[in-house]
């Protein structure tokens, strides 16, 4: 068919209506936003390409729908990656393929049946096109409105010192202005909470996350917590761009514990100074990436008690005891880290595993090492009590 531009757009909008409704049903039943996000992306990419097709194709033979469909699939996948739409690939491709098939059936059979002059008019649908466009806009509008209504409230914390602890037990975003400080810490007990750009001062824990999922701590600063800087229990968190400074004693900078089976947590681009352990993952799954940990007195970064995850691209400096430790049946992928200046623990003379190793694998743990830089440590790699260390070229 020799489509007009208007015909292409109208046909595409009308053909998108059914997949869009299916996406709505999927979004409700899963529940997840990706079907709607994907449907919107497919429509957007398709409409953009229609402008190209209109210039490039005076006449479009039927067979060309297949290669064009594959091109659009590639474009949609790229766009989905850029837009960080986390759709399962198999389901997303199946959704795309189904939508493409519906569009072909409509173009070749449905629309010509609905509108006598569909072919004559180069794919234009007249009133039907307007109705379809309105329907598509309405569905997206309704979905967008619903999504907006579901957005958590944003609580802005003004600059200055606020007396804590602040307890968050409902889904919300707590966003601090520059200089917003909470004395006594923050407690998060609800899922999908975001804490951004807030500093805490003192408290038993700087920030405590308890039995919550998908919590984001972004740009937080924790100073002077008596036990842990950030204390996470039975929760999944994404901690990024944070600064944690803890005093000596039995303290940890960031402690993520007892979250096994709940999903991955993430600690990324944080600076942790001091404490007995800088970042510790205990009975949990977590990726620890791009952090700077220094002057700890037992382990700078540790995965212990059957934990699992990656320790990657971190800088560890001036630790006492050990730099990076994979302990107690944990499985750790340790790569591209820079560990320097680790010293033996003078308070534990004769305990070998505290002998200042850059990397330690202890008690049946499995550590996979790749491209780590170990500089100026008392020991390089220590393996104890039935633990293993493997390297890719082993």
């Amino acid at each position: 068919m020799a489509y007009t531009l208007s015909g292409r757009v109208q046909s595409r909008l009308a053909a998108a209506l059914l997949p869009l409704l299916v996406a709505c049903v999927l979004a409700v039943t899963l529940p997840a936003w990706w079907p709607l996000e994907l449907a919107g992306l497919m429509l957007g990419v398709g409409l953009a390409l229609d402008l190209v097709y209109d210039r490039a194709l005076d006449y479009q033979p039927g067979w060309l729908a297949l290669p064009l469909g594959l091109v659009e699939l590639g474009a949609v996948m790229l766009a989905a990656r850029e837009a960080e739409i986390h759709a399962p690939v198999g389901a997303a491709v199946a959704f795309y393929a189904g939508s493409w098939l519906v569009a072909q059936l409509l173009a070749h059979a449905g629309f010509p049946l609905l509108r006598l002059t569909y072919a004559d008019d180069g794919g234009e649908l007249g009133r039907l096109g307007l109705v379809a466009a309105a329907g598509t806009v309405a569905v997206f509008g309704a979905a967008g409105g619903y999504a907006w209504s579901q957005l958590p409230p944003v609580v802005h914390l003004s600059a200055g010192i606020h007396q804590g602890p602040i307890v968050i037990d409902k889904r919300q975003h707590l966003v601090g202005e520059r200089g917003a400080i909470v004395r006594g810490g923050i407690v998060v007990r609800a899922s999908h909470v975001v804490v951004r750009n807030v500093a805490t001062l003192g408290g038993e824990y700087g920030i405590e996350v308890d039995r919550a999922r998908h919590v984001v701590l972004d740009g937080v600063k924790v100073v002077g917590a008596r036990v842990d800087g950030i204390h996470v229990r039975q929760s999944t968190v994404s901690i990024r761009n944070c600064t944690v400074a803890v005093p000596g004693g039995q303290t940890q900078g960031i402690d993520i514990s007892f979250s096994a089976g709940m999903g991955m947590s993430m600690v990324e681009n944080c600076t942790v100074v001091g404490g007995q352990q800088g970042i510790v993952v205990d009975s949990a799954e977590a990726d620890i990436m791009g952090n700077r940990v220094s002057t700890t007195r037992y382990q700078a970064i540790a995965m212990t008690e059957m934990s699992m995850g990656m320790i990657e691209q971190n800088e560890v400096a001036g630790a006492v005891g050990s730099g990076i430790a994979c302990v107690d049946q944990s499985m750790c992928m340790i790569s591209d880290n820079h560990v320097s200046g680790t010293r033996a623990d003078p308070s534990s003379p004769g305990i070998e595993r505290q002998g200042g190793y850059g990397i330690v694998s202890d008690y049946k743990a499995e550590a996979e090492l790749e491209d780590n830089e170990l500089v100026g440590n008392a020991g390089r790699i220590g393996v104890f009590a039935g633990a293993e260390v493997t390297r890719p070229d082993d």
Partner: protein, 399 residues
Amino acid sequence: MTSPAPGRRAQGPAEPASADTSARRRAAGNGRDTPTCAIVGGGLGGFVTYTTLRHGGLEPAEIAVFGTDPDPAATFRAQAAAIRQRHMRSESDGHVQARTFPGLAVRSACRSRSIRPLLDSVRDRYRPTVDEFLAHVAEARRTSGWDASFRQERIEQVSAVDGGFSLDDHGVFAHVLLAPGHPGLAFPPGLEDDPRVVHAYEPHDYADEVAVVGAGMAAATEWLNALAAGSRVVSIRRREPARRPLNVERRYFTKRGLAEFQRSGREERVALLRAFTAPSYPPGPEWDEPIADAVAAGRFRVEPEANGAAQVICATGFRRGFQADPLLGRLVREHGVETAEGWIVLAPDSTVPALTDETRTLSLAGSCAQWGHPGADTVVGMKYAARGFLRRVRRWRTR
């Protein structure tokens, strides 16, 4: 507007000339037992218009079809048989039903339980056989009510009157579509009375040496026919034919190309139409290989003149121009209809602008309607005119 169409006259007492026209139209629209629409021409153009009107909700009693043969495919059948045509040049959409879907490829796939016709169709390679097409026309004729509307009459004169058009003495019709078909076979000058001459579209056999005049689809078909019959072929042509699947570029069959065509000025459109009517036939080895073999065997050659051949087959198509058609010629003369060279100037919906208004419609379909649609002499082009006609009729009925 004092002379209502027959359908309106049957609705009781005549209303005064000043009566509200919409009321009269409502009255006429409600009476479905007398025709308000007439189709002049009982060939494929008329038949396609008929199925379109029926699809649009008109009953057989509301439509009068005037023609000389009740079989709408009679002329095509005879001409296709004369040139031993096996396949249509048109594709899946070249069927006579109003809706595009299902096309002939889908029907063939269902009938043969094979996906092949569909695959051929998406590759623009599907060509229905003539037999399939004729069977399809026969089926559509049976189910459409065509025979109930058909009147075996040749219309000699169409005259515009108030509220419609009178067709000889058969009454006045608000909406008339003229699909008179081709106005006769064309012979090159000087060959009309040559006893050796037969037109490709007339029944004929093949002599030992055959001169085929022309270079279009019919000529190419005749080359292969004559070669298959064991003849030597002399192709008489003055220029090389174009090779294209359809006689008009595909884009002109939809709004994308049509809008551009219909925007063209008078001179430009005349030039375009002349280019479209230049001889052409489809590309493909099924055409080229037999000719290449015959050339190698000395059985096929090209010459500019038909000289001593025992048989001359004129594959030179049809006479062109409204002047060649008595009905159209008279219409133009009596009503001063605007023309351009041999074409009647039409509105984009294939209506005659000077004779079409809110109360009546005069449309053309088929080869005489090329001013509105360059592929008007194809089935798809005929449907285009028919749909434009239906839109006018519907608008009139709902006023």
